[in-house]
Symmetry: D2
Subunit: 360 residues, 4 copies
């Protein structure tokens, strides 16, 4: 089967580089075109990622920039004609996404890490193990917009591990209230190169603008139901406090959940493991054996030790214990990788799913 031809916009930023690293040897997708700002346009990729003043190669993904993209001449994203590709991955900032993504979606599917279209009522948020059946809304979305393609935004990196763990618990025990306190890695912090060392070394930053609202809103949408007219968000109270810690990658989240029904910590562990194993049956290249890992050792999960589990696609859960605040409820700690499952590789996993389902 021929590989799908893929374009990437926002190719020079941190999220874009994570796409490039993850697509370097991808069995199903071939990265053929790269878009970025006009500043980078016309340069081979290997030049476009050099700092103009110092000549320094700016590369934040693992390893080295893959040779396969070094000579691709970067195009100006805003002028790119997507008709030559089967799919566009978008790793641009949200304001740029709002302009460019509809332009591409007229012709081809767009899978995006930007937040621009996450809250449109005709647009689903797809997340493995959580909301893949929301794909059934894509046709309606295309019809409403008059597009051949469509836009599928990746959820916020902080909500991803939360939703992956809440969904099976909600199905089994009916989640009523959720409180989450995040200690987030610095790699996902907006415009490159992110949080200043002066701000975060020997420190915690107790606020990430807009993040808490995104977590609450997206959690309810992800756990909601696709309906003929859009979504019926899950009726769950979500309260988030989002902080930044001196961690390179990986978001750690302390979660407290109230259930309608009784569930022991053992019940919760079993439910998570069982649910996490299901999606593996789809046979998608980026899908880990189990989306969820459960630790017995109370000192786990830790972001440095656990973020790379399953190639960064596993949500690691530990410290599952009763929540004394509620009649029925548990507390736990999770770690998920914010730039792998939480961004580029997560978006690629969605694209794999789309192809498997014949939607590309």
């Amino acid at each position: 089967m021929a590989k799908k031809r893929v374009a990437l916009i926002g190719a020079t930023g941190i999220a874009g580089q994570q796409f490039i690293a993850a697509l370097a040897d991808h069995p199903w997708f071939k990265l053929t075109r790269l878009g970025a700002s006009s500043r980078s346009a016309g340069k081979p990729y290997s030049q476009a990622i050099r700092d103009a003043d110092t000549g320094q190669v700016r590369w934040w993904a693992e390893g080295e920039p893959p040779a396969s993209v070094a000579d691709i001449v970067v195009e100006e994203g805003a002028k790119m004609d997507a008709r030559g590709v089967d799919l566009v991955f978008s790793a641009v900032e949200s304001d740029v996404a709002r302009e460019l993504e509809p332009m591409f979606a007229e012709h081809v599917p767009v899978v995006s890490t930007a937040s621009a279209f996450r809250y449109e009522d005709d647009i689903p948020l797809l997340l493995a193990g959580v909301s893949m059946e929301h794909t059934k809304l894509i046709k309606r979305h295309q019809k409403l917009r008059g597009w051949k393609g469509y836009i599928l935004p990746q959820p916020n990196c902080t909500v991803i591990g939360l939703a992956i763990t809440l969904k099976p618990l909600h199905d089994a025990y009916c989640v009523k209230r959720v409180s989450v306190v995040s200690m987030q890695g610095i790699s996902g912090a907006g415009r490159s190169p992110g949080v200043a060392g002066l701000d975060v070394i020997d420190n915690i930053i107790p606020y990430i603008p807009g993040e808490e609202e995104k977590v609450a809103r997206e959690a309810r949408k992800l756990l909601g139901t696709a309906t003929p007219s859009g979504f019926s968000a899950a009726n769950i109270e979500v309260s988030a406090t989002c902080t930044r810690a001196a961690v390179l990658e990986g978001h750690t989240e302390a979660v407290s959940v109230e259930f309608a029904k009784h569930a022991s910590p053992q019940d919760v562990a079993r439910t998570l493991l069982k649910a996490g194993a299901k999606p593996a049956k789809l046979g998608l290249p980026s899908m880990p054996e189990n989306l969820i890992r459960v630790h017995d050792d109370p000192f786990r999960p830790q972001p440095r030790l656990d973020r790379d589990g399953g190639g960064g696609m596993v949500t690691s859960v530990g410290r599952i214990r009763p929540e004394p605040l509620y009649k029925h409820g548990v507390k736990y700690v999770l770690v998920s990788h914010n730039t792998k499952m939480g961004a580029a590789k997560g978006a690629i996993l969605v694209a794999e799913y789309l192809r498997e389902k014949g939607l590309l």
Copy 2:
């Protein structure tokens, strides 16, 4: 007025050194004797804090070891006769405290940072702005034990900022449930020199053995009522998740509180500021102008910026906002200094209070 003569046991550890730094120029107390393990006994203090293998001076408090203690010959704590002093500060580990502190308390008051006696029903936990009136139990405690002195343990460093903020809120709005997630600095982590760099750099450790139970239990005791027969603990559900972050000093805590009565974030801010100002009227040397600082800037408090407020004695509060999980409630973030207000200087503040009240 003559200075009170003070002995310190556990003088070579991190907590002990914080005592020494804080007592160096104290207007009311004069540090005259130092106790430590038999390994240090017989050496002048300046030698006792050198690493036996490398000669390195091990000093974790601010600045340099004060000249005033350099030549004091360290005694073996277990053999110290406390009758020559007016007060003993204890900075030993809990197992050692259990043996030594009663020995001293037979003769003189002991103010301790160890947890050994925190949960005895005849022993109060004193905390400025929270439970100073629990001193009224001291006489009964002395009578029960047959001691001339008494033992006053300092509460756990993580509960201190929590209780200082909860107490006025409880008085005003009746606290029902409290959830706290801590991101703790590494300086208070048990035996010197504490958490390994390999464990905490680029990482979060999601578990601190025993800490969550201490926070819950001590919060209820601190906010409880002194009764003729001991304590009536406050009837509050407390749920804690305690983690360790790559922060040198200062505990950051994300707090969520349910009230019985309505209170807006503005009400809460006003209540905290008003309550925090009261203890300053006592005129104690280590008391800050206001025990509580309230930040408007949502990026505050941060441990590196706020831990040293008021000489490390201020609890900084920010991000006060409604808690959507409850009908009445708020969320906030606090920072308090774990080895100043949370240990040595907090214990010294208690001792100042005792002297002011004629209890030394």
Copy 3:
């Protein structure tokens, strides 16, 4: 004696904020006007340092922004008329300095942390304990340029501790070759807010563009002689390797020196201490008791422990030992504060000297 009225340009950046913090209660200088880019112009300072998107107060100096400047309305630096002040401190980037500083120097003295004019042959680099007598060139400089004022650039932060230690050694033992490897803190790294956490946590960056050339060139100028026609640079080979470490503030430097004459480590220690004590006799407010501290403990100096010595004005030296590479020579490690003695407070010290000598 009336305080001198002072203007500051570059008032919103890291270096500018260090000036503001250091001038807050200065006995001789009163900060009356603040200049910054057009983006900040017209706003009170307390507003100008807020991030436009998030409202966050961006303040990198110690403590909080002083109340005394909160209401000063920031002017556009390029349009500032300096005639109402006695002195301008400049904390702008070098490209801006090249344009603005001569404009001010037509009328008043300018003391600057920018590198723009450091290498002009008529312009001295003044450094306490090293090159204060180069002030004798100021008159010639004014005449050549036709200015009432003058420009005095502060040397590069990395050369400062080096030159302060080399100068007395050069005078005593004649320095022939110097090798220096720096491990620099991140606070001085160019445009705010400096080095990204992603670059420096768990890492060393082995290159700082232009820094090594500056260190070599400025060391030779600082240790050189003022002559009727400008400078006769010191005839010393200087070889620098400049790296960036995960340290907030303070530059650590491993220095190796070849002398023409024999000098034991003890000789070197004595020479440094004696020389460092001299400048204190001038009675300048920002001058420490001794510009140089010498440690016996081989584990010192450490940037976190020693950078703030003497209010950040002391160069701490340790590990003085023979250099086996040379017939006569020593190795040592030094720590100096890059944004205090190395930038704002160092510039203020120069200004104090100028006033003392009647040159303001």
Copy 4:
């Protein structure tokens, strides 16, 4: 060909765990026995690495403890009879090594990361690309000691990258003087779990006891010549300053070299690359394609980006430039992995070489 049976002593420490991780799927060696202190003896390995107080699994190598060793019952190292194995790897502290290693060497070869026997005149230090031909001294060593086996200590982790780069330069241009300043990662720091976070976060520690002497002495031995009576150390002046930085793993070294002959930076790069490629021809499983990587990007090497090159076996070199202090000479920066090539995997590489040469 049957796998060689291997025992490991010091199996529970950091270095021991690196051996276990590296041997988990080794094609030539099978780890069959594990030795540790009496405290661990009798427990299955999976239990022996749990903290006795907290139950925490203490594992510092990559990934998780391999299942293949989980059930091996740990023996007391001092009582182990090595006659059932073909080889002993030793990862014990030096004082223990001095007692145990000769006991094993009576019967079988011992390859060790301990320093105990490094300076014995009959014992070679083997290092790939540097001193493998020193194996010719093994027979004499066995004869002198009357052992069937022998002891081969791995050189100090800090000298390894230095010697790997110096050796080809010495062969080509005759090295006269070497100066090295190291910024070392914390993972190799003696007894588990190494450097305290309180010591190293936001800091540089300027001293590592004994390290500088080891670097100088071992560099001369490694670059020396095996003679009938032992070694003729290389006649090179080596001056080291060893510091500790807030880096988890990987030693960064700023090197300055004087040559007897002229060599341009380009000559040096070519010489290093050519020499580094040779050992790959041996076909050893742990040998990388090239022992040396040369970077053009002046911002490389960086420990976090380069330490894992070639599975942690590559020495990365960059910033090769003329050394102005010498008539002929260069400066460069290198990064090498201190617990892979610098400890366990380096020792395994030596063992592979021994087997290839029929010396096991």
